[in-house]
């Protein structure tokens, strides 16, 4: 799909769609399976959004359930718990943007400066590994280490130093979950940046070094500009996902810090929609979130284009 669109934008519209179809048919054939999967698993289920405008009864099915118009949305907008969840989501998203987003970039730069391939591979494997742990496992490890009965606090206790409440403190919850995300995902996040770094022409560094540019100047004038397109792309995607901060991570820790702090939009849909059998309400919350996300990603992409970057696609 993207190929077609960028072609249309990139070339003057001289060729008829017939000719373009003939020219691109092998490419189109290759993308077809992916498109079919997308349609079956992403577009067809959109039909279920109808339940957000109903009093959905699983037994009666979508066709027979009573229509409720915008009633579910009225309920949603009048629900203080929903606004609390939205506020938490945006706050956590913001904290993660500031504290998490730069970490993989910094890690990639650090790794890139290590010359020994063996040491690089070793560190890369070490930081990748946590990505493959489930959240249940990741949080269990945190609990075992930092929890009220974990290694750290038992050590403090045995030495008669006051204990440190890390895992159940609502005030520092945002920092806790962000550090968990960094521990688990930062290593995985560097892959795309390392690839971009590898694409930078090394001749540029040599030339700059010959001209007397130091380490920082090379970083500032060669490395970062080379990464800029990728950084902006990742930023646009991140903003589009601003309302998706994770599900399992909060589901598991919701009881630890209380729902006031840990409720995000996804857990809200789960607890107040699915878990209580109020499916239509959950669907309405999910739809609301999707619409806002769409607007966000559209806006962020516009902004990227305005700054002359590619964003999600070349304009």
């Amino acid at each position: 799909m993207t190929t077609l669109r960028s072609d249309r934008a990139g070339r003057p519209a001289k060729l008829s769609w017939r000719i373009r179809l003939r020219r691109d048919r092998s490419l189109i054939l290759m993308t077809l399976p992916a498109v079919v999967l997308l349609v079956v698993f992403n577009y067809v289920p959109l039909f279920g959004l109808a339940t957000a405008f109903q009093e959905y009864d699983p037994l009666a099915g979508v066709w027979q359930s009573t229509w409720a118009g915008l009633y579910q949305f009225e309920r949603l907008l009048g629900d203080s718990l929903f606004w609390g969840a939205l506020k938490n989501t945006l706050y956590l998203s913001f904290v993660q943007l500031i504290l998490f987003f730069p970490v993989p970039i910094a890690l990639a730069l650090l790794l890139n400066s290590v010359l020994s391939q063996r040491i690089r591979n070793f560190f890369q494997s070490v930081v990748y590994l946590p990505h493959f742990f489930s959240w249940v496992l990741a949080i269990t490890i945190f609990q075992q280490m930092l929890g009220g009965a974990g290694a750290l606090n038992q050590f403090l206790r045995s030495n008669d130093i006051g204990t440190w409440d890390i895992m159940t403190n609502p005030d520092t919850f945002a920092l806790l979950v962000t550090s968990q995300v960094i521990w688990k995902e930062a290593g995985w996040g560097i892959i795309v940046f390392l690839a971009a770094l590898a694409a930078i022409n090394t001749d540029l560094y040599e030339a700059a070094a010959a001209d007397g540019a130091g380490r920082w100047r090379r970083l500032w004038h060669i490395t970062l500009p080379g990464l800029r397109a990728v950084i902006v792309l990742m930023l646009v995607l991140r903003l589009g996902n601003a309302l998706t901060v994770g599900f399992e991570q909060f589901l598991i820790q919701r009881n630890a810090v209380g729902h006031d702090t840990a409720e995000v939009l996804d857990t809200f849909s789960f607890y107040y929609g699915i878990a209580t059998g109020d499916y239509s309400y959950g669907a309405a919350a999910g739809l609301f979130k999707s619409v806002i996300s769409l607007l966000l990603i559209w806006g962020a992409n516009k902004l990227a284009h305005a700054f002359g970057e590619d964003g999600l696609y070349r304009k």
């Binding site: 009093e55 009864d57 699983p58 037994l59 009666a60 099915g61 718990l81 609990q143 929890g147 009220g148 009965a149 974990g150 606090n153 038992q154 206790r157 045995s158 895992m167 159940t168 609502p170 589901l251 598991i252 820790q253 919701r254 009881n255 630890a256 810090v257 209380g258 729902h259 006031d260 607890y271 107040y272 878990a275 209580t276 059998g277 109020d278 309400y281």
Partner: protein
């Protein structure tokens, strides 16, 4: 509240299959939303249809049942395993039909068409295609079948998930009405089914008609109790009868907690203790007025007591962090010594798990007592079962009769030849007799011990733990000591089905969430009061109370 507990348990993976034999089935008091619902059961309507009760006395228990109030009876206890195992069914019950069956299984799904299934098909005279499904996801698997109107011929629908399955809406149109086959004396055609107490049939009755076949019926099901590490407390000279009030329990917290040593006295106990403060299970009727649990002072008192327990530092930090799944591990390893829980956990598997961590492991449970230490102890009786199976409405009458004959075989009493076949398989292939008790072989572990057939029909609960008689003796003694305290709560086993708005209000998620924060010491009682006030005014609480009063209490009474 029982409902809430269960809804959560699928997340916490806390349901233990082994525990189901003696599990106190939890109250399920609401149905899902929508217009077409079978009504509430009424006392007079039910009396006319409930099956006759003809107990089977052919196998004498070592520890006989003890009766309490009406419909209250402890489970019989059997030590070892009966050496003489009489047959209760002559010939094969089936006539060669082929049927599909779906049951929940908390454990590893056995291979399809295995040697045990084949042996069972031969013994039953039908081909039953057993399709056990993961118990932890059962409530999400079944609604797709019901929505597509593609239920199997025979299916188990656990009562605590009635709202998820919309059982009230399924009966009559997708699930067969068994009233003509089983009501009153009709059931005597199936003597093993007739040996299931009448009270258990209420769990599968909807709108004064019989639909469900009950499994694991018990006359002493309660939500749970406060259990403790008897080996450790005994060694400290602390016995159950010394603990007679909430203050005694709090003092135990101080005495037993050794945070430096990594030992905390308590895991969560609130759910199994709040009624000790005089709070109702969910509803109470005061001078004819219907009152919800959340409206009572006793509810606040119970939450406050548990909050103090948490603030004092007597509860394990991981429990306060909401890690319920690790509760058993903490208990076995001695990091917590007192923990609330369903009695289903008190069995042989529990003893073996505990002994793996500590050879002296022994579980005990405190007797029920009133929080003030003065009032008479009282605990709410659960419905006689929550494990109920249903037949497909598309079956022809002769097919229903064939399956009821199969159910009669599956419900053969404890220790009979049929019971041994259903629960242990074929001697030599699936089990061998060691020291007088059936011991599963490797094939038996894989194919038989993953329990499937008993979820279609089974005999009333009996306590039996081959090679673990101490558990049988302890549990039977505890039941006998507490049977007098058990009494029916308001709306006992009435299978109320309510519109979805009321069901949502009854789930009261915001109040439950706040309550959890309060009992873990993170919020104040005032927060809980505010949450309740909010629930009443804008969360549908007042409407729920009004609806329940108009449609249940005024029309059908309290069911007590």
């Amino acid at each position: 509240m029982g409902n809430e507990l269960n809804r959560r348990s699928f997340l916490n993976a806390a349901v233990s299959a082994a525990g189901l034999v003696a599990m106190g089935p939890l109250l399920s008091a609401c149905g899902g939303g929508g217009p077409q619902r079978a009504g509430v059961n009424s006392e007079s309507g039910l009396k006319a249809v409930l099956p006759a009760y003809v107990p089977n006395t052919s196998i004498k228990p070592d520890i006989p049942s003890v009766a309490g109030g009406p419909d209250v009876l402890t489970d019989p206890g059997f030590l070892g395993y009966p050496a003489n195992r009489p047959a209760t069914v002559s010939g094969v019950p089936g006539k060669g039909g082929r049927y599909s069956a779906v049951t929940p299984l908390w454990g590893t799904i056995p291979p399809a068409d295995n040697s045990f299934y084949q042996a069972m098909n031969k013994a039953l005279g039908v081909t039953l295609d057993m399709k056990p499904a993961d118990g932890n996801n059962y409530n999400t698997i079944i609604p797709t079948m019901t929505a597509a109107k593609k239920l199997p011929d025979w299916i188990n629908l656990p009562g605590w998930w009635n709202p998820a399955f919309n059982t009230a809406g399924l009966v009559g149109n997708q699930l067969a009405d068994l009233t003509p086959y089983l009501s009153g004396d009709n059931i005597k055609k199936y003597p093993n089914l007739a040996a299931i107490p009448s009270a258990a049939w209420r769990a599968g009755a909807w709108g004064d008609k019989l639909y469900g076949i009950p499994s694991f019926a018990t006359g002493c099901g309660v939500a749970g109790a406060i259990m403790y590490r008897r080996d450790i407390l005994d060694a400290k000279g602390i016995t159950a009868d010394q603990v007679k009030s909430a203050d005694d329990l709090m003092n135990l917290g101080k005495e037993l907690t050794d945070a430096k040593g990594g030992v905390w006295a308590f895991d969560d106990v609130y759910r199994y203790f709040y009624t000790a403060f005089g709070a109702p299970l969910k509803w109470k009727v005061d001078n004819g007025k219907l009152i919800h649990l959340f409206e009572t002072q006793e509810f606040l008192d119970a939450a406050d007591w548990h909050r103090k327990l948490a603030v004092a530092g007597y509860i394990h930090p991981d429990a306060l962090a909401g890690d319920n799944a690790g509760g058993n591990t903490r208990f076995y390893s001695g990091k917590t010594l007192i923990s609330g829980g369903g009695l289903g956990v008190w069995n042989l598997a529990d003893l073996q798990s505990g002994q793996a961590a500590n050879p002296n492991f022994r579980r005990g449970a405190f007797n029920f007592f009133a929080a003030d230490g003065k009032s008479a102890p009282r605990v709410d009786l659960n419905p006689a079962t929550n494990i109920v199976s249903y037949l497909n409405a598309n079956l022809k009458p002769e097919q229903i009769e064939e399956l009821l004959s199969v159910a009669n075989y599956l419900a053969a009493p404890f220790g009979s030849a049929e019971y041994t076949m259903v629960n242990f398989g074929v001697e030599g292939t699936h089990f061998t007799m060691k020291d007088g008790v059936p011991t599963p072989t490797e094939a038996g572990q894989k194919e038989v011990q993953a329990k499937t057939y008993p979820f279609l029909a089974s005999a009333p609960a009996a306590i039996n733990n081959p090679n673990g008689d101490i558990v049988t003796k302890d549990l039977a003694a505890w039941q006998a000591a507490n049977v007098k305290a058990m009494a029916k709560p308001v709306f006992w086993s009435m299978n109320i089905s309510m519109p979805s708005a009321q069901a949502t209000a009854e789930a009261a998620q915001p109040v439950e969430d706040t309550l959890k924060d309060v009992i873990h010491g993170k919020k104040s009682i005032q927060d809980l009061k505010d949450s309740v006030a909010n629930w009443k005014s804008s969360g549908g609480g007042d409407r729920l109370i009004q609806w329940t009063n108009d449609n249940v209490l005024q029309k059908h009474g309290t069911g007590q």
